[in-house]
């Protein structure tokens, strides 16, 4: 029984561990080596999916902390990634409160809105309050591929949820 509990805790904590690992390690989703313009923001896909499906496993405080770590590692001003992730949480929570049944299409559309708000805040703050220059083309590619890949990860995360995760009501 205890063994089962540990395994279920580990599997339920998987997405949060993955988020922390992506923020703190060298592993990145910048796949320009593979395909010239292929970059995606995997963190926001991860956060958005689990906030709308299982908010109990993605605590706001943890996401905030992961954002701070991401800023330190990437060299962005502190708090910027946290703000961007919190906007994702806010839109995700709002969508969850307003909707009863969601489909992949509705999640995809609302994810697009969340990503627009989040990136708008991120890059406008970066542009106005720091000296860092960035390429609008790259932002465009990044947003496009993040949006494009959302359904793929939506399916993978759903499979993970059904296969490995225990129901919160169980």
């Amino acid at each position: 029984m205890a063994k089962y509990s540990i395994i279920s805790k580990l599997s339920n904590g998987g997405p949060l561990l993955l988020l922390y690992y992506l923020c703190i390690s060298e592993v990145d989703t910048n796949l320009e080596e593979l395909f010239e313009i292929f970059t995606l923001n995997f963190q926001i896909i991860l956060i958005y999916f689990w906030v709308i499906k299982r908010p109990d496993i993605m605590a706001n405080g943890h996401i905030f902390l992961a954002g701070l770590i991401n800023d330190v590692v990437m060299g962005f001003p502190l708090g910027l990634s946290s703000l961007s992730y919190l906007i994702i949480i806010f839109v995700g929570t709002y969508v969850r409160n307003k909707s009863v049944n969601t489909t992949i299409a509705s999640d995809w559309f609302t994810f697009f809105m969340a990503m627009i708000f989040s990136n708008l805040l991120f890059f406008s703050l970066l542009n106005n309050f720091s000296d860092l220059a960035f390429s609008l083309t790259k932002i465009g590619y990044n947003m496009f591929f993040t949006l494009f890949m959302f359904p793929v990860f939506w399916l993978l995360f759903n499979i993970y949820q059904v296969t490995f995760m225990t129901n919160r009501d169980a």
């Binding site: 703190i24 990145d28 405080g61 910027l80």
Partner: protein, 281 residues
């Protein structure tokens, strides 16, 4: 109509303020906290700098440890394959040693001649004082579509200061943009924020600008100047930061620059502390 507006405001407020269960903090309080941290970092640099330096040092070390598997597994594969080819490699190396031995005399003569010419020109050989060069290990090399930088394991403790040039095998790699006590961040030449005055083989002056991709661009070339293939590019030293004559790369057929050092393959670099004594910072 009023019901739908009520629904909207309830859902909106709930999304911002909801707590309980796994959520110990509301989104609104965390947004407020993130904004405070952000503006403190931007405007309160003197106040937050020591604190941020400690956080940076700790996080970079943890990142280095967390990234160990991603470094170990590819290296293990490489080691196994190189072990299999050790005999062939030995033969090749022996042949190469013979070749280099014959070239050594020639090189010695040329380097003496070079030093004499430099004395005549009253310029400083950039590698003259080796004691002022610090070897640093790359702790973190996280690739980002927006920022191209690396973290090295040397900081103010070792005399590293902001702006110091960073090289690998005497080829320019970038410059230090952030220093902590035990670590520093190096902005690579291909970063969008990187601008360096350079000299081309034929004496033309230009600015090497990072493009965010692997190959930086040459800007502000003389009017009607045609960039031909395979022109060597050196730091001009006009900014007083980079030592004049430090090799950077070669032009290619597409008009961009192929760097001599692949910015994605850095494991050890050297920081030139010579510039510190010149009081440029």
């Amino acid at each position: 109509m009023s019901v739908s507006r009520d629904d909207f405001s309830i859902a909106f407020r709930s999304a911002l303020l909801q707590r309980g269960g796994a959520q110990k903090f509301s989104v609104l309080s965390l947004i407020f906290l993130a904004l405070v941290i952000f503006f403190l970092d931007i405007y309160g640099s003197k106040f937050t700098q020591p604190f941020k330096g400690v956080i940076n040092d700790v996080v970079y070390r943890v990142t280095y440890l967390a990234s160990a598997p991603t470094r170990i597994f590819p290296k293990a594969g490489e080691n196994i394959s190189s072990f299999m080819n050790v005999r062939e490699e030995n033969k090749k190396l022996k042949a190469e040693i013979e070749k280099y031995k014959s070239l050594e005399l020639n090189v010695e003569f040329l380097s003496d001649e070079n030093k004499n010419l430099q004395k005549i020109l009253e310029t400083e050989y950039f590698n003259k004082n080796l004691t002022n060069i610090v070897l640093a290990k790359v702790l973190v090399d996280k690739d980002s579509p927006f920022l191209k930088s690396i973290i090295i394991n040397k900081g103010t403790k070792n005399g590293v200061l902001k702006g110091m040039p960073v090289t690998k095998d005497n080829y320019l790699v970038g410059r230090v943009v952030e220093t902590n006590y035990l670590s520093s961040r190096v902005l690579l030449l291909n970063d969008l924020n990187s601008r360096i005055p350079v000299t081309l083989d034929q004496g033309a002056q230009a600015i090497l600008s990072g493009s965010g991709s692997k190959n930086p661009l040459l800007e502000y070339l003389p009017e009607d100047y045609d960039v031909v293939d395979s022109l060597n590019i050196f730091a001009s030293g006009k900014d007083g930061i980079f030592t004049a004559g430090t090799p950077i790369g070669k032009t290619n057929s597409s008009g961009t620059v192929d760097l001599f050092v692949d910015p994605n393959q850095l494991s050890f670099v050297t920081v030139n502390l010579n510039v510190q004594s010149r009081g440029n910072f």
